[in-house]
């Protein structure tokens, strides 16, 4: 059956409108499916490399130590004192499953570091007074 060019154009237009409508409906359905109380959860955090995970852990511990200091005006004697008030779980090194090292210098400075930076192909990997040292 030969359609006139005008009818052909109308047919394509209808197809286009139908596709657009389907897309819109699909998008709305997606937005609806992602709502609801079962989706009341924070987004998942991207997986990090081992080194990235260590940097993130060191910063989290460092922030927890700073918060401890802000209340007690002294640094904690052990990292265990930070749980659960300032950090819900004390992270461990992802590669070795060992605890991070912690040192206090005369009540004015602190340092958190990995046991062996060479595991991460680095010479230094630590956080001192809130600043990351990595090279």
């Amino acid at each position: 059956m030969n359609l006139k060019p005008k009818n052909k154009l109308l047919k394509y237009l209808l197809y286009a409108i139908a596709i657009i409508l389907l897309c819109v409906l699909g998008f709305v359905a997606y937005l609806y499916s992602q709502g609801g109380q079962k989706n009341y959860t924070p987004p998942s955090i991207e997986e990090k490399t081992n080194e990235g995970q260590v940097v993130s852990d060191l910063m989290d511990i460092s922030h927890a130590i700073e918060s401890y200091y802000a209340i007690n005006l002294s640094y904690p004697s052990s990292l265990k004192n930070l749980v659960p008030e300032f950090i819900s779980n004390m992270p461990i090194e992802p590669l070795t499953n060992r605890d991070y090292s912690y040192k206090v210098f005369s009540d004015t400075a602190f340092e958190v570091s990995v046991q062996n930076p060479q595991n991460y192909n680095l010479k230094e990997l630590r956080v001192r007074n809130g600043k990351i040292i990595k090279y």
């Binding site: 937005l31 709502g35 609801g36 989706n39 009341y40 700073e66 918060s67 802000a70 209340i71 659960p84």
Partner: protein, 249 residues
């Protein structure tokens, strides 16, 4: 020989008592100084409690190597901070000013560290104050810290939101209220606080990122942390922890 031993013994006793006296002087001096600093701060800053801790240099007893000041319940631009702790390394104080006028003035210091802790309660109170300020009623907002996010459960009558805001999200408001969930991260730059939403659910619909970015541009920065007159500082970092939001310079 006995005489020499006797002399040594006396010298040791003198040295021992000398050191004891120096220590006692240093302690009383330390306590007095802490009290004076606390008084000077209290005369200028309205807060619940002030704690001052001084550490003197072990090699030079007249030199302070660390001065930490904790102030509880200070208003910092609408938000009442649970704790503000300011730590000075190697500070040099204007003792004349402190003694005569009761004012704390720093002549110099090598480092200043500011830690501000905000609990859920202080943020909830801040929101309650904002509701009052804008004359809003029946607004229910519950916050929860889930590091590195802040979760927010809300239930707000439609009439309580601004008409411009209602216009943008009108497609998502079938009834007469806005109910849902939002996840935020916070950022600080030059003491200005901004909130960025990673996920917002409104009346069972996930709000698209394009709409969220309109709100982010419109409402950010949402608050400015005011510096405290004696201590000049700028907040540039935020960390969300299980019980507190930590703001640092």
């Amino acid at each position: 020989m006995v005489k020499l031993l006797n002399i040594r013994f006396y010298v040791l006793i003198i040295l021992f008592f000398g050191e004891m006296c120096l220590c006692a002087f240093q302690i009383t001096n330390k306590e007095n100084l802490e009290k004076q600093i606390g008084k000077a701060i209290a005369s200028e800053i309205n807060c619940k409690e002030i704690k001052v801790k001084i550490n003197f240099d072990s090699n030079n007893p007249s030199k302070i190597n660390n001065l930490a000041i904790r102030m509880d319940g200070v208003n910092i631009g609408g938000i009442i901070a649970d704790f503000i702790t300011i730590q000075y390394t190697n500070p040099s104080l204007d003792y004349k000013n402190l003694k005569n006028k009761g004012r704390l003035k720093f002549l110099s210091y090598s480092d200043q560290k500011v830690n501000i802790l905000l609990s859920i309660n202080s943020l909830q109170n801040y929101l309650a104050l904002k509701e009052k300020e804008f004359g809003k009623k029946n607004v229910n907002i519950r916050l929860k810290f889930s590091p590195p996010f802040i979760e927010c459960f809300y239930d707000v009558p439609q009439k309580e939101i601004a008409s411009e805001t209602a216009e943008i999200i009108s497609k998502f408001i079938p009834g007469d209220k806005l109910e849902g969930y939002a996840v935020f991260t916070l950022q600080a730059k030059k003491s200005e606080l901004s909130a960025y939403s990673s996920k917002v659910i409104l009346n069972h619909f996930l709000i698209p990122g394009s709409i969220l970015s309109i709100f982010e541009k419109k409402f950010n920065p949402f608050e400015k942390i005011s510096s405290i007159n004696i201590f000049n500082f700028e907040i540039n970092n935020i960390a969300i922890q299980s019980k507190y939001v930590l703001l640092t310079n």
